[in-house]
Each structure stands twice: as structure tokens, then as C-alpha cells.
């Protein structure tokens, strides 16, 4: 690599950074003011690209020529802004009083709906937009052809940064944004119409996402994978920069863009006798950067730690958890009896489906323990599920009998949770959640790349239980036994002195510390327990499917578990079971009803979230209490 090409790669990194910044800026703005973790941000980005394609094509057909592309970009960004406002007004606005994480579930539902709506409206084929008129060519620098559009993007990022900074620091709207970001109580005290402010900010954030998507069109065809490919990156940039910090997001985008460009530029290098293929690292570069940054700066590069330590728990955690009484024991007994009777009365497939539900329930319960009792949000809980599954599968493939291999599932997850938990419990809130995600992605990439051991992207096959459990209904009973035991143990731990200490730490770390409870050690142990039970679920999963691939520890599995927990109710005793049953059953049934089952699933989740903000399990609990 010559010095000139090194500089050119820096330039490439910068133009990628600009694109990243544009999409992350809206996200950080929205989070800063509304505290909404907007999973649908990638979907808004994707909509921007599709709408810019459609608007540009329509305007061009109307004879507007070269300007049609640029007008299309603007129109698309504005339209996405309006869509964002609609999402906020029609959906999120109704959820501000609800548990914070429920909004996340709602935005997840929006992702499903937008994906299918886009497919219905624009079709399955990728849509390559025109090159940007006026910037379609290249400039020759030092003998290298540089696309003009890349140079344009390098400029756009800083321009948007300056514009947003001006907006935030110099305008009345900006004062309100800052007031709302820094002190929510203050906003109310100042007599600011919070409702309008939130709508405006959400619309602005959506506008930026739409703009980012639209501006991407000359570089990437509009396609249905853009949403998920983007949203994780946008979150990483936002968190690395410090939540709510727009300059931070810019800095983070530059660091990540540069890191990736340099990884590709370095190629394969011999270092200390070991050959390292740097381009392969791009698979996980942003997550590695995030893990390092968060380990050193728990609030991101330019983020500020939250003002006063929180002494009162968040509203969703104030939900009272009644001790399981006779009524709950009765319900549990009835459910167990019904499940035991299932193989005798149900069809074979019912056993298969309920096996999946039970595994999901145990996985969700372990997350509920972390989230509900521990107050620690995880976006990467699948890591422990997956590590457990892989530990069992690898031992089994190495010749261990199933009993031994299966026992290694929780052990493997325990070790992983012990290691990662130590880092994670040093953080709080969304930062903690994102660090769990970073570790999960790092584990995922190792499993994905380590062909010789894990089978790489293909994974492992042939993990079938021995003869006695091979029969579906027999395996179902085995699953029922393990899951019942797991759920009972988790419920028991939640009522133990340790469970109380964990909840105490969540309610008030100050008070817990003042009583002599080691806050971090308690959280760490809670994290490890949650991870271990997730691994147990992973072990059952491996033998129930007969095969494994890195998808078991990928982001969607973590998100699914989160949705199950929230659908079931964060603090409802039977929440994980109810949430897992509802989610898995719907995902099984809906695809048989309609081609657009994802949208239907999304719509149902929206309905559930709006009608039962305490989760379905919470509703059940309320009904039984009322009946009592």
C-alpha cells in the first residue's frame, strides 16, 4: 500500500463514516429526547431509499431531468419524516406511560410491518437507483479515480453535523431539545408541551434516517435487507459516541468507518508469524470498537453520565411482584398437568411445537430474571443460549454421551457469562444492553469464522439424542422435565435472599450498598445465573433440532427473547411462559394464514402492547387477583 492509497483509504473511510453518521444522528436525537430505543430506525432508512427511488423515477418520467433525483431525495426524506411523526403519534405516544422497554417492542413490531409493506409496494427485486446527476463521475487525484459522490458524502456529514449543532445550540427548538435530554422534570416545569416536542423530534430523527437512506441510493440498490443491516450499525455508532451526543455520533462514525476501511486496506498480514486476514475482521469491527470504548468509557466517547444516582426505580420496576401463593401454585400445577398429558392426547407435531415453546420459555425466563429481577437489559442474551448449545453440540460431536454433553451446556454458558458479565455489570441502562450485544456479536463472529471447530457459517449437524429420546414425544417429556426444573429453580432463586438482594440492588443500589450488599458482585452473580439458565435452554435446543448454526447466537434470537419477555410481562410470574407461547405459536400459525405474516405478527404485537402494557402475563395475574 502506497502512501497515496493510504490517504485514499482514509477518504473512503470518511465517506462511509458520513453515511453512518447520517443514520445515527437521527437515532441519537430521538433517544436523547424521548429515551426510545427505536429498533425501527433501520426501517425508516430503508423506506428513505425506496421512496427516493420511486419519487426520483416518477419525477424523471414527468420530464424533470437531472434535478428529479435530488428532488426525489428531499421528497423521500420529508415523507419518512411524516411517517415517523405518524408512528410517534399513533403508536409510541400511547406508550410513554408504559414500561420503557415496551416502546422497544412496539418499534420491533414496526420493523415487521414496514418490511412487509415495502415488499408489497415495491416487489422483491433489488432496485438500483440512478447515479447522482451532477456527481456521477470521478475526480482524478494522484492518479486514482475518486467518485465525486464519495467526496459529496464526505462533505454532507460535517454539514449535517454543523446544521444539527446549530439547531441544538442556537435555536429555541434546540433549547427545548437540550432541556428534555438533560432533565425531563425540567421540561415539564418550564411548561414545555412535551407531546409536541416528542413528535417533532421523532419526525426530525425519522427525516434524517430517510435522508440517509435516500442519499445511499446512488451507492446501494434499495433492498429488503437494508433495515436490519443498518439498525445495528446505527445503534453502535450512537452508543460509542455517547447516547444523545450528536458530535459523539460523528466521532464514532469516523472511528468505525476508518477502522473498517483500514481493515480492508491492510489485507492479509503476517504479524509475529501469524497470518491475520484483516478484511475478515470487518464482520465484527464495529462491535469490537464498541466493546473497547465501553470498557474504557462507560458512557461512550462524548456521553455524559446520568446526573444524580437513581434512588427510585423506573416505573416498570415498581410493579409489585406478589409472592407466589396457593393460587399461583394451583395454576402452575394445572399447566404442568396439561403439559404432561399432552403426548397422550396431542398430535405429534403439537409435541414438536410445544418443545420449541418450552425451550423459548426457559430462555425467556432467564432473560426475565436478568431484566426483571436484575434490572439489567440485555440485547445479547442469545450469546449464552448459543454458547450453551454449541458447548453441548461440540462435546457430543467429540464423542461425549448426551448426558455429559448436555451437562456442559449450562457450564459453557456459565463460563461465558462469568467473563462477559464482569465487564457488563460495570455499566448501566442502554450502555449495558449494548455491551451485551457487542459481546454476543463477538462470540457470533468467532463461531462464524472458526470453521475447523464450529463448522463456520454452516454449523454442526448430527446432534440427535440417543434412541430412547429420539421419539418426538419422548424428547418432549425430557424437555418438559428440564424446563420445569429450570423455571422452578429460577422462581425459587427469585424468592431467595439472593433474589431479594438482586431486586434490592435494582430498586436502589445506594440503599443496597449501605446495607453491606456488594452491588456489582450481586449483579455479576445475577448475570451469571441468567446466562447459565439460558445455556441450559440452549442445550435442550441443540438436541431438539439436531443441528446448530451461528444463527442461534445472532441478534434476532436476542430480540425475540426480549419481545417474549415484554409480551408476557416483565414482572409476571408466568410471563415468560405466556410470552414464549404466544410468540412461538403466532410465528407458527400466521405464516399458514397469509403471505404477509410478518406484518400480521407486527400488527398483533402492536395490539397486544397497546391493550396490555403490563404484558399478557400481567393481565392474567391481575385477573386472578381480582377473582381472588
Amino acid at each position: 500500500m502506497t502512501f497515496a492509497s493510504f490517504l485514499l483509504q482514509l477518504g473512503n473511510g470518511l465517506s462511509s463514516a458520513s453515511a453512518l453518521f447520517l443514520v445515527a444522528a437521527g437515532l441519537t436525537l430521538i433517544f436523547g429526547v424521548t429515551r426510545i430505543v427505536n429498533f425501527a430506525h433501520g426501517s425508516l432508512y430503508m423506506l428513505g431509499a425506496y421512496l427516493a427511488y420511486a419519487a426520483g423515477a416518477w419525477l424523471a418520467s414527468a420530464g424533470l431531468g437531472g434535478i428529479s433525483f435530488w428532488l426525489g431525495v428531499l421528497a423521500a426524506a420529508l415523507a419518512v419524516g411524516v411517517i415517523g411523526a405518524l408512528i410517534e403519534v399513533l403508536l409510541l405516544k400511547r406508550l410513554y406511560a408504559a414500561p420503557e422497554l415496551l416502546q422497544l417492542t412496539a418499534t420491533f413490531a414496526v420493523v415487521l410491518i414496514v418490511r412487509d409493506a415495502t415488499l408489497a409496494a415495491f416487489g422483491a427485486e433489488d432496485l438500483l437507483g440512478p447515479r447522482a446527476p451532477g456527481l456521477a463521475g470521478t475526480v482524478t487525484i494522484a492518479g486514482h479515480a475518486i467518485p465525486e459522490y464519495d467526496l459529496f458524502l464526505i462533505v454532507v456529514g460535517p454539514v449535517v453535523l454543523v446544521a444539527l449543532t446549530f439547531l441544538v445550540t442556537r435555536t429555541r427548538f434546540g433549547v427545548l431539545i437540550r432541556a428534555a435530554s438533560e432533565n425531563r422534570a425540567l421540561t415539564a416545569a418550564l411548561g414545555i408541551d412535551e407531546a409536541k416536542l416528542f413528535t417533532a423530534v421523532f419526525a426530525l430523527g425519522a427525516f434524517l434516517a430517510g435522508l440517509a437512506g435516500a442519499l445511499q441510493l446512488p451507492r446501494e440498490p434499495a433492498n429488503l435487507g437494508m433495515d436490519l443491516a443498518t439498525v445495528a450499525d446505527a445503534f453502535v455508532v450512537t452508543v460509542v459516541g455517547g447516547l444523545g451526543s450528536i458530535p459523539g455520533a460523528f466521532l464514532a462514525a469516523v472511528i468505525i468507518g476508518m477502522t473498517k476501511a483500514m481493515c480492508i486496506a491492510l489485507g492479509s498480514q503476517e504479524i509475529l508469524g501469524i497470518s491475520i486476514a484483516f478484511p475478515k475482521i470487518t464482520l465484527v469491527a464495529e462491535f469490537a470498537v464498541m466493546a473497547i470504548v465501553l470498557a474504557v468509557r462507560p458512557h461512550g466517547l462524548l456521553g455524559t453520565p446520568p446526573g444524580a444516582p437513581v434512588t427510585t426505580p423506573l416505573p416498570e420496576q415498581r410493579e409489585l411482584v406478589p409472592a407466589p401463593g396457593r393460587r399461583e401454585a394451583l395454576v402452575a400445577g394445572l399447566v404442568l398437568a396439561a403439559l404432561l398429558a399432552l403426548p397422550a392426547v396431542g398430535a405429534e407435531y403439537t409435541a414438536v411445537l410445544v418443545t420449541d415453546i418450552l425451550v423459548a420459555a426457559l430462555f425467556a425466563a432467564s432473560l426475565q430474571f436478568l431484566l426483571g429481577s436484575g434490572g439489567m437489559t440485555s440485547f445479547g442474551h442469545a450469546a449464552y443460549f448459543g454458547v450453551g448449545a454449541y458447548a453441548a453440540a461440540l462435546a457430543f460431536k467429540a464423542g461425549a454421551p448426551m448426558a455429559v454433553a448436555f451437562a456442559l451446556a449450562p457450564v459453557g454458558a456459565f463460563v461465558a457469562a462469568l467473563l462477559f458479565g464482569w465487564f457488563c455489570v460495570r455499566l448501566a441502562g442502554v450502555y449495558l444492553a449494548m455491551l451485551t450485544l457487542a459481546f454476543a456479536q463477538i462470540v457470533w463472529s468467532i463461531v462464524f469464522q472458526w470453521d475447523a471447530v464450529t463448522g463456520g457459517s454452516n454449523g454442526l449437524v448430527g446432534i440427535w439424542p440417543p434412541e430412547i429420546l429420539a421419539e418426538r414425544k419422548h424428547f418432549y417429556l425430557f424437555t418438559l422435565a428440564v424446563v420445569t426444573l429450570g423455571l422452578a429453580l429460577l422462581a425459587r432463586i427469585a424468592r431467595s435472599p439472593f433474589g431479594f438482594a438482586l431486586r434490592g440492588v435494582r430498586d436502589s443500589p445506594l440503599r443496597a450498598g449501605a446495607l453491606g450488599i456488594d452491588v456489582r458482585a450481586t449483579q455479576w452473580r445475577g448475570f451469571v445465573i441468567a446466562g447459565t439458565f439460558a445455556g441450559l435452554a440452549g442445550g435442550v435446543y441443540a438436541f431438539s433440532k439436531g443441528s446448530l448454526s451461528p444463527e442461534v447466537l445472532a441478534i434476532p434470537r436476542s430480540v425475540d427473547a426480549l419481545v417474549m419477555v415484554l409480551l408476557g410481562g416483565l414482572n409476571a410470574l408466568f410471563g415468560p411462559l405466556v410470552g414464549a407461547a404466544a410468540f412461538t405459536w403466532l410465528a407458527d400459525v400466521l405464516p399458514r394464514l397469509t403471505e404477509y405474516w410478518r406484518a400480521l405478527l407486527g400488527a398483533l404485537i402492536v395490539a397486544l402492547v397497546l391493550v396490555f402494557p403490563g404484558g399478557i402475563g400481567g393481565l392474567v395475574a391481575r385477573l386472578t387477583r381480582r377473582a381472588a
Binding site: 500500500m1 492509497s5 485514499l8 477518504g11 473511510g13 462511509s16 418490511r115 412487509d116 415488499l119 427485486e125 433489488d126 438500483l128 470521478t138 486514482h144 479515480a145 475518486i146 467518485p147 446512488p218 451507492r219 446501494e220 440498490p221 433492498n223 429488503l224 435487507g225 443491516a229 473498517k260 476501511a261 480492508i264 486496506a265 489485507g267 492479509s268 486476514a277 478484511p279 475478515k280 470487518t282 464482520l283 398430535a347 407435531y349 411445537l353 420449541d356 463456520g456 457459517s457 454452516n458 454449523g459 449437524v461 448430527g462 440427535w464 435446543y541 433440532k545 439436531g546 443441528s547 446448530l548 448454526s549 444463527e551 434476532p556 410465528a587 405464516p591 399458514r592 403471505e595 405474516w597
Partner: protein, 396 residues
């Protein structure tokens, strides 16, 4: 419902005892994850199904396809496969797209002792390292398609290659197969510079720049989909392809070539499907029927979906029964006619001989297409039988 309709329905139900008469194929695929390939695939299946049933079905019974979405994950695929088997009582399984899903379902087929026709997954492992008695694969594998391009590459005698590939099994296998085969055909002095990119997330600027910096004589890429489109556009802008030979596996498939429109690369060596210029009677018949039925031209997915159903029907017909073991036995050495011509499932490794078209890309009437193509019959691009035997586990 009108009385008349009700009567008709009642009659139909009386004559055809519900489902008992139909033979069901259980098709599972990642429809929502890879829609650009699988929507045409679904159309292809529909066309084949209609033709077969119009001609009287199979074994005197109507053929039915029960379609399930596997969500692109092996876990869900295994669940819906179980559902197809135990609830829908399908005669055989077919479908799947991604390699990991294909392998998972193949292993389930072995466990449950049911025939599985893997229509689309390209991984070599599904017939070799992880091959099993119950699994057959329709499409030309990564190895075969690479082997179709290598002779062209060897002829050119280029020494310094940049290899760009999506960083997962397909790209890795293609890269390994290309290097190995080219080394075998072209003696010495070969240099390979590899650039792996995350699937669906290529950063085209740095990748093209790194490729330029490597100053290669030629390029071998296994990119497809949005990654390919981004690579093509960026590479053209920066002059990467100027005076340079480029090979791109799958690059001539309409699914990936058509979105590029008039920016489709010119002169690249690709495998693909020149639907507009294949004049064999089998293909003409297929194409005409397809266009009449769907008012759209066929994509490669259409051919694969169509052929998979035709193959499945042929296997059941040959078995003369819906007994799984008999169908599995029938699949071995089964020959049928696909839109690409005659195809046989090799008894040695259960790979079909369905080939691919090898040619060069061109732009015609503002659209990408393939020229100077020839049909590479899959039977000619296989390793030695002894090699195949050594890779495949003992029959199980």
C-alpha cells in the same frame, strides 16, 4: 357462499375424499429472507404443479405442494419440516436456500428417514462431507460452478488474482475451490490476494481501492445481490475493471444481473441463465408457458422451482409408491427433463447433473444479458469418483 358453489364444493369433497387422494410435497424455503430469488421460484413450482396435474397428476393422484416459510434459520426450518411431516403427512421434503438451513434439513431427513430434495443450497457439503442416503441436491454446487469457470480462467494465463467473496461458507468454498482448481490447471507462479466482505454489508469504496492497490491481472468474485451491485458500480467508477479480466460466480443470473440495468458489467466471465437466448425446445416450452402464466420472464429461481417439482414428481412416479424408502431408491440415478435439458441424479453422491450457462456479460437494449454462452452440463464438472467416495461418509 352461493348454493350452487356449496353444492359444487360438497360434490368435490364427496368425490375426492379430503386430501387422501393428493400426494403432498412439503416445500420449505426462506421466502421472506431471499424474496428476489424465491418469488420467481414459487412461480416456477406453481407452473410445474399445474402442468403435472393437468396431465393427470402422479400415480393417478393429484399433486399438492404445501409451502412453509423457514424464516432463514435452521431451527425454524427443522420445526416446519416436522410440521410438514407429522401434520401435513407430506411424502417428501424439498426446498431450502441457505447452506446452513439445507444442511440442517438434510440431517433431519436422515434422522426421520424421509426423502429430501435440496433444490437451491449450493454447499458442497450437502452431498459430500455431510451427504446422506435421504438427501439429493438439484442445483449445480459451488464446486461445479467454479469448475465451469476455471478452464476459461486457466486459458487466459493470468498470474495475479484478487479474490473478493462474501464471508460465509459459499464464498469461502468458492474461493478455496477456485484456487485449488486453478493451481491444478495452470502451473506455478499464481498469486492470490483475498478480500472477504461481510454478506450484505460490503463497503465498496475500500474494497475496490484495496483491489486496485493489489494491481491484479484478474479478479475472481463470488459476490451476488446488493453486494454485487455496489461492487460493480464502485468498480466501474474507479476503473477497477478497465483492461482487467473479471470472473463472477452466479453473476449472470437474472436475479443479480437485472437490477444493474444498463450498468451491468460488460465482458465478465460468469455462470448464469441467459433466459432470452436459449433456443432448446425444452427451454422454449418452459419459457413460453411461464410468460403466458405470469406475464413476466423467468428467472433462475423459476427454473429451479420448476425443475424441483418435476424431479419430485418423476421420483414418485418411478418409485410407483409414496413409500419414502422407495422414493429414495428411485431418486438414485433418476433422469428427468428440466428446462436446461436432461438431468440425472448421480447415484455416487446424489448430486444432480443440472448444469449452468457459462458465458460473458453484455448490455443489450439497456439491460444486462449473457453472450457467447455455452451450457456446461453438470456431469462434466465433477471430481474423480474416487475423490467423491473418499469425501462422502459411509452410507447411513
Amino acid at each position: 357462499m352461493s348454493v350452487l358453489r356449496f353444492a359444487a364444493l360438497a360434490f368435490a369433497l364427496a368425490v375426492l375424499p379430503a386430501g387422501a387422494q393428493t400426494i403432498k410435497l412439503g416445500e420449505l424455503n426462506s421466502y421472506k429472507v431471499f424474496p428476489s430469488f424465491l418469488e420467481p421460484y414459487k412461480n416456477g413450482m406453481t407452473l410445474a404443479l399445474d402442468e403435472i396435474n393437468a396431465a393427470g397428476g402422479v400415480l393417478g393422484r393429484k399433486l399438492e405442494i404445501v409451502i412453509r416459510d423457514d424464516n432463514g434459520t435452521p431451527g425454524d426450518a427443522v420445526r416446519v419440516a416436522e410440521e410438514l411431516l407429522s401434520r401435513e403427512k407430506v411424502t417428501m421434503l424439498m426446498g431450502t436456500f441457505a447452506s446452513n438451513v439445507g444442511l440442517a434439513v438434510a440431517d433431519l431427513a436422515r434422522q426421520r428417514k424421509v426423502p429430501f430434495l435440496a433444490s437451491e443450497p449450493l454447499t458442497d457439503k450437502i452431498v459430500w462431507d455431510n451427504g446422506n442416503k435421504y438427501t439429493y441436491r438439484l442445483r449445480a454446487s459451488t464446486f461445479m460452478q467454479t469448475a465451469m469457470l476455471v478452464p476459461e480462467a486457466a486459458k487466459l494465463g493470468k498470474k495475479r488474482w484478487v479474490i473478493i467473496y462474501p464471508n460465509y461458507e459459499y464464498g469461502q468454498s468458492a474461493t478455496a475451490a477456485f484456487k485449488k482448481q486453478l493451481n491444478a490447471m495452470q502451473s506455478g507462479g499464481l498469486e492470490f490476494i483475498e478480500i472477504a466482505v461481510p454478506l450484505g454489508k460490503i463497503d465498496p469504496g475500500p474494497v475496490v481501492q484495496a483491489a486496485l492497490d493489489a494491481k491484479p491481472d484478474a479478479i475472481f468474485s463470488s459476490l451476488f445481490g446488493p453486494d454485487l451491485a455496489r461492487f460493480v458500480r464502485e468498480g466501474q467508477l474507479r476503473g477497477l475493471f478497465k483492461d482487467r479480466v473479471v470472473f463472477n460466480l452466479l453473476g449472470g443470473e437474472p436475479e443479480y444481473l437485472d437490477p444493474l440495468k444498463d450498468e451491468a458489467p460488460v465482458g465478465w466471465y460468469v455462470t448464469g441463465y441467459p433466459w432470452d437466448s436459449i433456443a432448446t425446445p425444452e427451454h422454449k416450452k418452459f419459457k413460453d408457458a411461464y410468460m403466458a402464466r405470469f406475464n413476466d420472464y423467468p428467472r433462475l429461481g423459476s427454473v429451479v422451482g420448476y425443475s424441483a417439482v418435476v424431479a419430485a414428481a418423476a421420483a414418485i412416479r418411478k418409485a410407483g409408491s409414496t413409500d419414502p424408502e422407495k422414493i429414495v431408491a428411485a431418486l438414485s440415478g433418476l433422469s428427468f427433463t428440466s428446462p436446461f435439458g436432461p438431468v440425472t441424479f448421480r447415484p455416487i453422491d446424489h448430486q444432480s447433473t443440472m448444469g449452468a450457462y457459462v458465458g460473458r456479460t453484455a448490455v443489450k437494449d439497456g439491460k444486462g444479458t449473457m453472450v457467447d454462452w455455452k451450457y456446461a452440463d453438470g456431469k462434466d464438472y465433477q471430481p474423480e469418483d474416487s475423490v467423491v467416495r473418499s469425501m462422502r461418509p459411509p452410507e447411513r
